[in-house]
Symmetry: C2
Subunit: 671 residues, 2 copies
Amino acid sequence: MEIDLNHAVKDGDFEKHGGGNWCSLSPSSSASCSSSSNSVVPSVPSSIYFELWHACAGPLTSLPKKGSLVVYFPQGHLEQAAASASNFPCLDVPAFGLHPQIFCRVVNVQLLANKENDEVYTQVTLLPQSELEEKNLEINGHEELGVEEGNGGFLSKSTPHMFCKTLTASDTSTHGGFSVPRRAAEDCFPPLDYKQQRPSQELVAKDLHGVEWRFRHIYRGQPRRHLLTTGWSIFVSQKNLVSGDAVLFLRGDNGELRLGIRRAGRPRNSLPSSLLSDQHTHLNILSSVANAINTKSMFHIFYCPRASPAEFVIPYQKYVKCFSHPVAIGMRFKMRFEKDDTADRRCSGVITGIGDLDPHKWHASKWRCLKVRWDEELVSDHQDRVSPWEIEPFVSLPGMTSPSAPRLKKPRTSLMPSSPDNHLAGRTGFLESDESVRSSKVLQGQEKVIFGQPQHDGDRIDHPLEFEMHKFTGTGSVPRNISEPLKEPLTTYTGFMESSRFQKVLQGQEIFPYEVLHGGTRLDNIAWKKNDLGCNMFNMYQRPHPNFYPFVSENIGNIYATKNEKYKMKCDSIQPYMTGFEGGSVPPDVSSIQRMFPGIVREDVCNPTATKIVLEQRPSENLTPSIDVDPKNHAELSNATNSGCKLFGFSLTGEMSTSNSQSSSRRSCTK
Amino acid sequence: MEIDLNHAVKDGDFEKHGGGNWCSLSPSSSASCSSSSNSVVPSVPSSIYFELWHACAGPLTSLPKKGSLVVYFPQGHLEQAAASASNFPCLDVPAFGLHPQIFCRVVNVQLLANKENDEVYTQVTLLPQSELEEKNLEINGHEELGVEEGNGGFLSKSTPHMFCKTLTASDTSTHGGFSVPRRAAEDCFPPLDYKQQRPSQELVAKDLHGVEWRFRHIYRGQPRRHLLTTGWSIFVSQKNLVSGDAVLFLRGDNGELRLGIRRAGRPRNSLPSSLLSDQHTHLNILSSVANAINTKSMFHIFYCPRASPAEFVIPYQKYVKCFSHPVAIGMRFKMRFEKDDTADRRCSGVITGIGDLDPHKWHASKWRCLKVRWDEELVSDHQDRVSPWEIEPFVSLPGMTSPSAPRLKKPRTSLMPSSPDNHLAGRTGFLESDESVRSSKVLQGQEKVIFGQPQHDGDRIDHPLEFEMHKFTGTGSVPRNISEPLKEPLTTYTGFMESSRFQKVLQGQEIFPYEVLHGGTRLDNIAWKKNDLGCNMFNMYQRPHPNFYPFVSENIGNIYATKNEKYKMKCDSIQPYMTGFEGGSVPPDVSSIQRMFPGIVREDVCNPTATKIVLEQRPSENLTPSIDVDPKNHAELSNATNSGCKLFGFSLTGEMSTSNSQSSSRRSCTK
DNA sequence: TTGTCTCCCCGCGGGAGACAA
DNA sequence: TTGTCTCCCGCGGGGAGACAA
């Protein structure tokens, strides 16, 4: 039972400090805990652990960046708690007067792992930003940009070779060992002397906890193949691996071998049981947050990327940005989901209601404030409520004319993994992350994707030809058109995840060096789609720069294209007020929109006449694409002539003239 | 992860409620938890579980009675926390303004067991009695008597047959099963058909968690013996039993079989790990207590009888009573200790100092306020500090003349078990307990102790011929005589534990039905030794009534002899104030005694002249022994003419005339 | 009476190539 | 290339009486 030494217990402080058995994997922390029964202690946190953590978490897991602004949703936190604890009684805990969304600055992010089951989780230390509850959004929007942490050096050091294999029945049977895919063995393991009759060697690999596992690696059989024999069955039984679970090996620059596991099902207990009793009670969660807010002190949350139903700490910018979607009852949307074995899938549905999930306790909450009906009934575990930032406006494929079930039909194997890799596919990554999502590319056979050859060339995939936008509807069942469907051949991507954070997953599940892919992010453009409606905020998507891959840099980590997506808004109060209204019974006029998203509705346009602005059209403007957040470029951006761009009463230009939300690549504006 | 349904989570309450994975074994609770990973869930708590819990806890474990008054020592609580968590950082936690001793009423006692390792523990719910911090001790002393709970019906129902066997190397080896002692098998197991060649049957026994274990019970070999074969090795491996651990079987009236284990060493983790992170942090412990006091609400403590270094919740009466010992620097004493493998032993030592263990944080604390030097250096884990209620004045054996190392030399096997039975022997039981200490008698071979034949007949054992009393000393190293050693052939027992709660442990370790032994307690006398010094409070011992065993009653549990030990005192304030002084550097005059024990030092005798009272002698008075707490008897006791009995400035009589501390059996006063 | 030893024997499972998808 | 099967064989351990403390 240890306490992370990074966290001093403050005298006279009632705050629970977590107390449990975890230690930091964060590269910035000097973890010096010894092994205990529940959680993880790497002797020397190194980059390879960092890589391993992310590999175990899955390629789509993203984490907030230290120092960045985020929005914390207590409701989501409680959801995770309820999901993690199987029999946990969801007592009717008071909200302690907490706001449903709490703006915080990320003080620390610690990568941790449960010693019981190797599930990864993270402790995020948040400092409530009460001033953000007020009106100085603008200032903080700027301030946000200033937060740049020099972790790039850390990330650029290692070039791990890594592979991930879903265990077969033979791999987990008691007879025989683990069949290593040939190229995986050649890439990750030290070479064998193939001149021998039966070449073999001993491999030593450390898991997330720093525990060494030894395997006999032999090349035998007719035809020859790589096998792990002695030591493998012990590993399987100790880790309780079953067929369907995935094992990943990772080789660092120094040749050090690490291995991790990614279990098939969504984990039940990502947090060590020692933490569950304390950190996971609804009462404790809320009281510690309330205490932190009252005392203007930090609080800790544990986020289990693989166990949590949804991210409950999202980047501030993502939060703000999502309200640029014209969310309305009757609107069609799509959303990414995980599927148990078939990788993620994009499901479409229609918004049937907008209103508080819990009007009494979490009044004016945007957490799962959208009531939806899914097109597919098959997917049983879909929530019937989603949060605005989870969904994407629906974009149908070219050639698909039916707007009722316009699912993407391109072969999924080319984009999505068929492994547990994608269990978190339903979550879009944090926009502002220094430990951001790494793309995973999985090979099919010997086929190797060549860096520098963009897989998502702008015009090749995902041309949204049809843009759907339904009228607001009072009932939510029969959409009425507000505007005609917009047809335009824009180079628009279906989402951040699919562009800069795309996955190329074939059969072999090989994950490529992190920073190579990560470096590409730096060069992303934010493609603001300009159509006849003017600044159509449905299309605030990102797309990779055409020169995505060749621009690999050593200085990744410091610069993120997503940093460009800053906002400059004036709102008298971002503190939400909302009269809860449920499921489509209230006609969504502007005032209701305003109630839902007061934070981004400018006061001067908050009047009933704003409904007309919805259809106000502005000529699209040719903006210089911004591919760097370097302050040098700000002047250029500021000079862009954007004004009067409004949608649903939001002014998208004017004071927002320096915002990157105005930046768009010319290519994405082609029509 | 469940919460005991007995405990509602209060709204708006920051109090940690334990949250962990435990469920009640208490007969009064309707445990309805389902099994979880960490702790215990008996499907139907029945008396046999109750018996099993106590059997596993060890025969010397006692628990406070529901409704009774107790003294809670935060320091001791922290000690347990530190002892349980191996690597727990003992941070410098503030005392939260807590008093070092907190008077509480026992609201609930729950018997629990750790599902991880079967260690028993208990949750005690305490309600701080802030009024006791003031001066109405007398009222509460009376009130105390009124608290009688009708648990007797529960206890008197079952007559379990039980045996406990320390596992041999053969028992735990992989080859072969468990060798059942013949009489144990005959007593606890269903009879076999001995006419068969190899009689065998299947036994089903439930453990503390309600888990069923199946064993093949066979009678075979040459010569024939009872063995458990199939199923045994699974049990051993699952429970991680090793040679030296003890297994106990218990048969209820209905023939139901239970089994429990008692491990050899002092357990490290009696509490489930889920509780350790929360309930075991020093910060949380103290803050929850402080919160309870401030809000006049209950708080919970977890007590691990086998893991805790010392009891930190002791009966109020025991606490008050212990101050009648004339504790002084240089005084010799003895104290019970556990030894790892050799059962408990009585160690003697000398008090070398009186003063706060932690003068700054726990000022005026009586927890381990006595600094001692042990006669034996061998016993390494002896604390160099003890609490006043832990020690007994030293009484040497007849024939032993050396006052420097007067150890009891009688053969230990006749009184002490050679098994883990006695790991808690160092603790004297709660005087006020409804789940009190049960004596354990262990047979040697076929020899059976006949009830009704007291083993501790007054004149047979432990005649204290020499009464040692050293002068106060300023250094604590060289005792100076205040009075001459007193030689008197009193029938004095070496302690409560050895009298009413004696053990007769030979080799076979058979525990006898609980209420038979327990009923005996009811008939205990409190033998107040009267010697030439008058009311010599060194000898406030209990001894069993000569008719101990024959007086078995069905109505045990309602009446306790210990109830007689009530006090009637007037003190202006029991709230201790004490200037910390350390290790014998301050000559103990009355004022220092008063500082140490202000609660029982009467104001009118708190003056320097009281030092002379130490030697004041009173003729002993013949008091009628009180053997019942029935209020009918109070008048009788009140009429006892005791007055002016003082020692070290304490008035032992006067207002205390109705106290049982004045009652003594005539036999114990023989000289 | 019961702790220990040794012997017997069976089954599990590690490790190999065969074979096929 | 690799998943599955089957065969081989050795070890561990359950279960028995022998023997002795």
